[in-house]
Amino acid sequence: MVMIRAIIRPEKTDAVLEALMEAGFPAVTKTNVVGRGKQRGIKIGEVVYDELPKEMIFTVVKEQDKDYVIKTIMQAARTGDRGSYGDGKIFVSPVEEVYTISSGIKETTEKLEEVAL
């Protein structure tokens, strides 16, 4: 399993969530974040804004679905044909175990099992 964390423009959130729903990956979590990128924020006149508001959406998927999900997010989150600065980043990190609290089912890359409490 892998966790995909995407930091995207706030105005693109709805488009990305809709694209993920249509692609068959409904489960996501979203929080507000602020940050800056390689361009060191935006300079407007004399003022530099280096805490730009973004949305972080994160989802955990199986390894074989990783590329498809990343492609879906990228297509939906781009502005313009070739994208532009500030469209965001996608990070992928490994997840070893997943538990569903309601059923107590433990998922790993190899198998499913029930947790005895």
Partner: protein, 126 residues
């Protein structure tokens, strides 16, 4: 060491905090987040409501695009992972959809900023 990332119901927060500290796991970070699970949200309703169809507007309240949740991030040594997971599941399990998920992620290093110590000694031990 591992990071236990749990997404739980908002109203379970106090109970979970109590249960974790009773189990000897005192340190964690929490934040608010919103999310959705396996439930399918019908985006055509939202689109129809934007265009002003009465039928779509009447159905607006029935589906919930994103639900508020609490995000807990707990970094624990390897031997405490199962105890943490069991505590969270036991406290939060109502047996209904929406109880949440727990993810276990590997963490490479941990430091205590105050003393610049490194490794498992900066984490909880029980």
């Amino acid at each position: 060491m591992k990071e236990v990332l749990a997404i739980i119901r908002m109203n379970m927060m106090n109970k979970t905090k109590q249960a974790l500290s009773d189990a000897g796991i005192s340190s964690f970070t929490a934040r608010e987040c919103v999310g959705r699970g396996k439930g399918i949200v019908d985006y055509s309703i939202l689109k129809g409501a934007e265009k002003g169809y009465d039928e779509a507007i009447s159905q607006l309240g029935m589906s919930h695009p994103l639900v508020p949740k609490r995000w807990l991030s707990i970094v624990v040594p390897d031997k405490l992972v199962s105890k943490t997971v069991e505590t969270i599941i036991k406290t939060n399990q109502m047996g209904k959809a929406g109880d949440g998920k727990i993810f276990i992620l590997p963490v490479m290093e941990a430091y205590r900023i105050r003393t610049a110590e490194q490794g498992d000694q900066v984490l909880d031990e029980a």
